[in-house]
């Protein structure tokens, strides 16, 4: 960074570009660091750390990549903007991979949940409101035999509270869940 500002203050306005030459030792030390880290990651692969294997490998690889980028690619001595450009690619790569895996890691889970609690597509919050009312009407940790402690349940909820094992399906959603079923099966077939 000091080199960049140096070049600008002294050699602006048509002057020649004056390169920032690093000492030879810096390059050789970087090379030695990379060799040591390579030996470290190869050595670690012969030991077993379970799930940490991947994390250790990625951390060492990232240390090596940072060393290459900062010294060999001169990012440490370069304009900060070039570092921001490079960092942005890493940030967007992380978003890309992690958000994709939010999908691929959870495929097949929604079908089971929707099967238990089908959503009313026409009025998606209706079912959850009714369920919230139901949960409030039940004592904590309670199963079937309800001793309503707190405020008496509203009439609509008490009807379903009488039979808690019955799935909470609004009448209007019977057709909606029927129409949702094919889409669930097609998405299940997609993978």
């Amino acid at each position: 960074m000091s080199a960049a500002s140096h070049a600008h203050t002294e050699h602006a306005h048509g002057g020649d570009h004056v390169p920032h030459v690093l000492p030879l030792g810096v390059y050789l030390a970087t090379f030695a660091t990379l060799l040591v880290l390579t030996a470290l990651t190869v050595g670690a692969s012969y030991l077993s750390f379970g799930a940490w294997n991947l994390i250790i490998a990625i951390v060492i690889a990232t240390l090596k990549a940072a060393t290459v980028a900062l010294v060999f690619m001169h990012l440490w001595f370069d304009h900060r903007f070039h570092s921001i450009i490079m960092a942005s690619s890493v940030i967007f790569l992380t978003i890309f991979i992690s958000f994709t895996m939010f999908d691929t890691q959870n495929r097949g889970r929604t079908e089971a949940i929707e099967g238990e609690r089908p959503a009313d597509i026409q009025n998606p919050f209706k079912a959850s409101q009714r369920q919230a009312a139901l949960m409030k009407s039940l004592p904590p940790m309670a199963s079937g035999t309800a001793l309503p402690r707190a405020p008496p349940p509203p009439p609509a909820a008490s009807a379903s509270a009488a039979a808690p094992s019955e799935p909470i399906v609004p009448v209007a959603s019977a057709s909606a869940s029927a129409s949702a079923a094919p889409s669930a099966s097609t998405s299940a077939a997609a993978h």
């Binding site: 602006a12 390169p19 294997n53 990625i58 903007f81 690619s89």
Partner: protein, 226 residues
Amino acid sequence: MSTAETTARGGEQPALSPQFHVAHHFDSADTQFDAGRMGIWLFLVTEVLLFGGLFCAFAIFRSWYFDSFVEAHHHLDKVMGAINTVVLITSSLTMALAVRSAQQSKKELTAILLALTLACAATFLCIKYVEYSHKFHEGLLPGKWFSAVGFHTAHPGVFFAIYFMMTGIHGLHVVIGMILISWILKRTMKGEFSSRYYAPVEGVGLYWHLVDLIWIYLFPLLYLVG
């Protein structure tokens, strides 16, 4: 680091990079140099995202077919991968030193270092060729072409699809890098570069370091962890 910046001084001899001139739309040689280098960095970002798609595919299929990935990765030669890693790191060093000697207007040294970088790249490709031909013989091939026997898991072909696609596109980058290094080697021999003007050497160097950087991730992910 600031102690080293006075090592080289441009403009002492009028013969340095005689064809070089600052284009009229740039204030100074510095601005022109920085603009070109920023362009290279933007290009490197697109390269990161190109390989990013492949790394994403690796992450997904590894999580889906973890057993197959673990079993299949034992068929890669760790030692050859490690040797290739050292070869590429060495080529990165010689490339970085080539840029340094170009900054110091040392024409002969730059040419030697670029030739050494080329030799390392060729060595890398030769080792890769030995590895690939070994895989072909054993039938460790992508997807439906997978014909090796004795596997206990269901999807080793998926691993080799990812392996060949990632190392193949990386190998293509090595070939392109060799063409680019040959191009600046030729221009170095013609005496076009000096401390006044070495932007193409720096640009090709940045690209070459990125190729090294991609391999730094490929090696542990494919060969060591699987």
